[in-house]
């Protein structure tokens, strides 16, 4: 138990919190970017625009079925080979955005598909154009259905930022490893801290989400 008291000094704690901040920074930026791109791609995929929707669909499927870890590696170590060079922070955000956009596009597409086709027909019958019907009638309803899978996707995203330790992004996991790597007695205290910090952030998000869900529903 002594090791806990020694490990949880303010200095170590601050070092971890700075890492948590990086984790949150990467998460928030990636969530915003991938929501926009994902929504767009999801719609493109749904509307079945000749060729474009098909090609977008294939790309989404390819990305969705790869490990995120591989995409992070590839972005940081592979892409510079063809002239695209990024800092660890940018590379992490880029890789996560690409991966999450594909995941979100799929959620958006199935969300829209889950809305009764009668809704669209009704909207058209009432004189709305296809796009108006999609935007004002179908999407809002689809959004309600999308909230639960979207939230678990965002929680996954936050957890997955830990994978960026592999490109030496100084986020929470990396910093905990630095601390227990220098003094292995701190190993258990650091794992406890990691578990608690990640849990608090992710669980808080899921609580907020279920509130939101109740309100919208």
């Amino acid at each position: 138990m002594n090791s806990f008291a020694e490990a949880y000094t303010w200095i170590n704690f601050r070092f971890l919190l700075e890492g948590l901040w990086v984790t949150i920074e990467v998460s928030v930026v990636s969530i915003i970017l991938s929501s926009i791109v994902g929504l767009f791609l999801g719609i493109v995929r749904y509307i079945r625009y000749p060729v474009v929707s098909g090609v977008v669909g294939v790309i989404i499927d390819l990305i969705r079925n790869l490990p995120l870890l591989l995409l992070i590696f590839f972005t940081y170590f592979g892409l510079p080979k063809i002239g695209i060079r990024m800092e660890p922070l940018t590379a992490a955000i880029a890789a996560m955005t690409v991966f999450e956009s594909a995941m979100i596009a799929e959620i958006v597409r199935s969300g829209i598909l889950a809305v009764d086709t009668g809704q669209m027909e009704g909207a058209r019958a009432n004189g709305l154009t296809y796009w108006q019907g999609l935007w004002y009638i179908v999407l809002p309803q689809a959004l309600r259905k999308m909230i639960p899978p979207l939230v678990s996707q965002f929680i996954s995203l936050i957890k997955d930022t830990s994978l960026a330790t592999i490109i030496v992004l100084p986020e929470l996991m990396y910093r905990a490893q630095i601390i227990y790597g220098q003094n292995t007695r701190y190993m258990i205290p650091m794992f406890v801290a990691l578990a608690v910090l990640y849990f608090v952030v992710c669980y808080a998000l899921s609580l907020v989400a279920s509130r939101l869900e109740k309100r919208v529903g």
Partner: protein
Amino acid sequence: MISVFQQHGQELLTGLGNTILCSVIALFFSLIIGSTFAIFEVLPSKLLRVIGRIYIEVFRNIPLLVIGMFFYVVVPQYVLPMDGFTAGTIGLTLYTSSFIAETVRAGIQAVDSGQMEGARANGLSFMQAMWHIVLPQAFKYVIPPLGNQFINLVKNSSVLAFVAGFDLMYQGDMIASATFDTFNTYIAVGVLYLIITLPLSYYMRYLEKKLA
């Protein structure tokens, strides 16, 4: 990319084998554990419901990497020794089981509650009704999302690279750092992952459509 396969085919294949092996083992055990906790959650006992909830929330909200590393560096020191493959597979199992529990619970709840009541009225015990009447029906709702969990499992198994688990990612990593040909190696590794996940993913979409 072709040359990566030609020169390092053996290593990549070993990696692919280990990735599939650990995914299948983890799927098997996480199905058992996950279903158990899912049933906990729909039981009349409040205590078991709470235990189920805590288990699911804990493993759902902590990164897989943290769980895997815990089994690789902490558990062997204080509890029992295990290698990277085992540690990674245990981590994967626990992590995935919480998602499977959620999926199965949703499946059980999707079955009309009249089914359970009817079965009970016909003299079956709660567990009998669950096992013979509710679960088989829930299974139908659960198959497509379970398939997606398995795809996630295969992708997530790449964390074995962190704990020297000799999986596809680890092998790719070794090749990339030996040959410095990062671009082509990672593409080759990606193709191998897609060989497992892509057909599964399309099959699940087909099933989803068929069952809907």
